[in-house]
């Protein structure tokens, strides 16, 4: 059976399931006792497993299967959800996500998930570590903590072998061997270690496995459980006698420490992958309760509406629909014209009715391209949760207005800038728990993520109740980096100072952390948002928090424009860059250094002759006594464009000029006018250097 035709469906549905799994897991983390959520998660995981198995993605299927096993115990009340089960399950979701991503990119979805699978299996077996486990036997935990490898998991059989050996008076040891970095043949060296050990005892289990060690699939060290009659020191010196061995650590175990070590190591395996940023912090050593609190999830609020009934449509089909529709509109205009000439009452009425219907239709066609911002927002709660956890902060994320709709093209682009701003808010905005308490604030910081419509724009705000931006600090840093001069600094308003944060290469973070120091600065965020035709504003109150407000156009494909005429040709100028329009007399135009200039509000701005630049055949403003001008802006700079006539304002649909035409300076695209003619869209930025 050809699976390709189902592939895109599989990918879409997998992503849906993963998303809902993520959401439900977060929900469950907030109410760990709510078994009904577990049911939903279980069903979702089950469906995912079935789909993956049908499509032949074995790794995906087996991982989901293991997750199912854990969830099955939970929903049957045989296992209580707790912190690290959540962590492991989230880890599994991440692995699943990257596998699906791999499949999306044309890969085979294979991935090494053995560690996660082992963790999940351990949970099913009941090997659940307690957070207070560190306070055990000193020697043993020292050995376990020192273990640079992911330590050994013992199965029941191996465990009983070791235990029995102990009872029979043998010595059981946990041995860790580190080979020197410059060792050429690690496999040979480790074989010699094994050989040596086997002469005076028995190796029960090693990590990595013997096969992996033989194939040099280990880093620098390996560890093993060993039964012997000799003393630990003896073993140590024996192994050290081999060349190129850097370190040997042999710890003799009694039955109690064996048990603990077995669990410790299980715990370590489980914990190791989850803690992306290993920070030594007070909370980690703190008792279970506070750890639970620290892991309090970012809460997702807002409407928890029932899933909407939708179908998936290829965006290209929508484009085709839109093109067909604009054709219909052109015919409509033509029909209206004809009807007005024919003067037939019935025809006129029919045409009028058709006009109304098509206007409604146009509205709907446009709306088809609108997608709720939820599709971008839905990954944020999880991200904020992980981030807060790794930074040892407590953060609640409150999402409102996720149903606000934006054009698909904007949605696709806005994700990355928002991720950056959110990271910024968690990392730099919200203070550490200690600082918050010191400032008399609640331990848990709040980040509000809001989206709402206003006029022809959509606003997305990220507001936290953190420390706020210190004007002085920003200025000091800006002065040091030469972004502003000290004279400029004195007169700057607060918002101007905040805008400095967007200057390239600017960072106020004292320490570049893993979270924010990813090579992208706020300058990238700003340029991305500007390229979408939006902008960012910062409001901040010292000690109270900061608000990044992003303003975006509703859609990229429809803009408001001023239509102008030059001779018999029509052009569109985007309204967003027009400052004002006016008429100037020839006598007001001066020539300065060979350039035409115009006095405009007490300064002189250049007058650009569009007719000359575009070689308009039948118009030249220098023959006119009075000239219409359009003053356009790029940042702070203004210029005036000379035009012949204003036709009027219009909403225009932007079309690109196709791949064949070379880049034409001054033209950013085209649009189709009501009469079916193409008009070019002027890019005023090209005229301002």
């Amino acid at each position: 059976m050809d699976m390709n035709q189902y592939l895109s469906m599989f990918i879409d549905e997998s992503n849906d399931h993963l998303q809902s799994l993520n959401e439900k897991m977060m929900e469950l983390e907030a109410n760990p006792e709510d078994l009904s959520i577990v049911q939903v998660i279980f069903r979702s995981a089950h469906t995912l497993k079935g789909m993956a198995a049908t499509m032949g993605y074995e790794d995906l299927a087996s991982l989901t299967h293991q997750m199912e096993n854990v969830l099955d115990l939970v929903r049957n009340s045989k296992l209580r959800m707790q912190d690290f089960i959540f962590d492991t399950l989230f880890k599994s979701l991440d692995a699943l996500e990257s596998m699906v991503e791999n499949i999306t990119g044309g890969g085979d979805g294979k991935a090494d998930v053995s560690t996660i699978v082992a963790s999940l299996q351990a949970i099913v077996r009941g090997d659940i570590p307690t957070a207070g486990g560190t306070s055990t036997n000193d020697t043993v935990s020292a050995a376990a903590v020192n273990a640079t490898n992911a330590p050994i998991l013992l199965d029941e059989f191996q465990f009983s072998v070791l235990e029995q050996s102990l009872q029979e008076g043998h010595k059981v040891m946990y041995v860790e061997v580190t080979i020197r970095k410059d060792c050429q043949l690690k496999a040979v060296r480790s074989y010699m270690v094994f050989d040596l050990l086997e002469r005076s005892g028995e190796v029960v289990k090693s990590f990595p496995s013997v096969q992996d060690i033989e194939q040099e699939k280990f880093d620098q060290s390996f560890s093993l459980y060993y039964i012997t009659q000799k003393e630990a020191e003896e073993i140590q010196s024996m192994v050290l006698n081999l060349s190129e061995i850097e370190k040997v650590n042999a710890v003799a175990l009694d039955s109690e420490s064996l048990q603990q070590l077995g669990q410790e190591t299980t715990a370590a395996t489980l914990e190791a992958p989850v803690q992306e940023v290993p920070t030594v912090s007070p909370t980690q050593a703190a008792p279970v309760q506070s750890k639970d609190e620290a892991a309090k999830p970012a809460v997702r609020s807002g409407t928890n509406s029932a899933p909407s009934r939708t179908i998936r449509v290829d965006i290209e089909r929508l484009d085709v629909l839109m093109n067909l529709f604009s054709e219909l509109l052109i015919d409509r205009v033509r029909l209206e014209q004809l009807a007005s000439e024919v003067h037939n009452q019935d025809l006129t009425e029919t045409v009028e009715h058709m006009s109304r219907v098509s206007a409604d239709l146009q509205n709907i066609v446009m709306k088809l391209r609108m997608v709720p911002v939820d599709t971008v927002f839905n990954r944020f709660p999880r991200m904020v949760r992980d981030l807060a956890k790794s930074l040892d902060k407590k953060v609640d994320l409150i999402v409102t207005g996720a149903e606000t709709e934006l054009d698909r093209t904007v949605i696709d682009e806005i994700g990355d800038p928002l991720v950056h701003l959110l990271r910024n808010a968690v990392d730099h905005g919200v203070e550490s728990i200690a600082d918050r308490i010191a400032a008399g604030k609640p331990e848990t910081g709040t980040i509000n993520l809001r989206a709402f419509h206003s006029g022809n724009h959509v606003f997305i705000e990220i507001e936290e109740d953190g420390a706020g931006i210190s004007r002085d600090k920003v200025l000091k840093s800006a002065l040091k980096k030469g972004v502003v001069t000290s004279e400029q600094a004195v007169n700057m308003t607060d918002s101007e100072v905040y805008q400095l944060l967007f200057a390239p290469g600017f960072s106020t973070a004292a320490v570049i952390s893993d979270i924010s120091g990813r090579g992208v600065g706020l300058d990238v965020v700003k340029s991305k948002i500007s390229s979408l035709g939006g902008h960012v504003t910062i409001y901040s109150t010292l000690g109270k928090g900061t608000n990044f407000s992003v303003q975006l156009p509703l859609t990229l494909s429809i803009i408001a424009a001023m239509l102008i005429r030059l001779g018999c040709e029509k052009f569109a100028i985007p309204l967003s860059s027009i400052v004002e329009t006016g008429i100037v007399k020839q006598s007001q135009i001066r020539t300065i250094h060979g350039n035409k200039m115009l006095e405009f509000r007490n300064t002189h701005i250049p007058l650009v002759s569009l007719s000359r630049i575009f070689s308009i055949p039948d118009y030249d403003e220098s023959n006119e006594e009075e000239t219409e001008i359009v003053v356009v802006r790029k940042g702070e700079r203004l210029i005036a464009l000379a035009v012949q006539d204003f036709i009027g304002q219009n909403e225009i649909v932007i079309k690109n000029l196709g791949k064949y035409l070379p880049e034409i300076q001054g033209i950013s695209g085209a649009t189709i006018l009501g009469d079916g003619q193409v008009a070019l869209i002027i890019d005023p930025n090209a005229f301002i250097k």
Binding site: M322, N323, L324, F325, S326, E327, I330, E569, N595, P606, V608, S609, R612, I613, F614, S615, I616, K655, N656, L657, G658, K659, Y660, L661, P662, I664, Q665, G666, I667, A670, I672, G676, Q677, V678, A679, L680, A686, F687
Partner: protein
């Protein structure tokens, strides 16, 4: 026995040219063209083809033949090659023929002023009809054309 291909036949002056039918999307009558400034002289501008903006090339201009007045017979052939959609203005287009691939010869060194590299070959139809097969990707190749002037003010 080589396979047959379907070819759209069009005229520039007295010569007959052919384009494989798969590369032709549609053939349109002349329609209003919006001039695009600051581009090559043979690009006549852009048209609105059912909601899609498509650039239009005067094929005479592209081949350096003197351009002619448009008549009732003038057609715009919309072709699509390597994701590029372009319209060719030709003097007339009114024939689709089946052509055996065997009947296409490599182009002679000199053909009616048009550079040989634009041609895929010459097909002989019947006794005295010669059909010039166009190499569309060369026709649409712009690398030989000099850089455009930029805005100077």
């Amino acid at each position: 026995m080589a396979e047959d291909i379907k070819v759209i036949v069009f005229k520039l002056g007295t010569e007959e040219y052919g384009i494989e039918v798969e590369k032709v999307q549609t053939i349109e009558r002349m329609m209003p063209i919006t001039r695009v400034p600051k581009t090559y002289s043979f690009i006549k501008g852009v048209i609105n083809l059912r909601g899609v903006v498509i650039p239009v090339i005067d094929l005479r201009g592209r081949f350096g033949i003197e351009e002619a007045e448009h008549t009732d017979q003038t057609r715009i052939i919309i072709v699509s090659v390597n994701d590029i959609e372009v319209g060719f203005i030709v003097d007339s287009a009114n024939d689709v023929i089946d052509l055996n691939k065997d009947s296409i010869d490599t182009p002679p060194d000199v053909v009616g002023g048009i550079k040989a590299k634009y041609l895929d070959g010459v097909a002989k139809i019947g006794e005295d009809r010669l059909l010039i097969m166009l190499n569309l990707s060369e026709v649409l190749n712009k690398s030989e054309i000099v850089q455009l002037e930029s805005i100077e003010e």
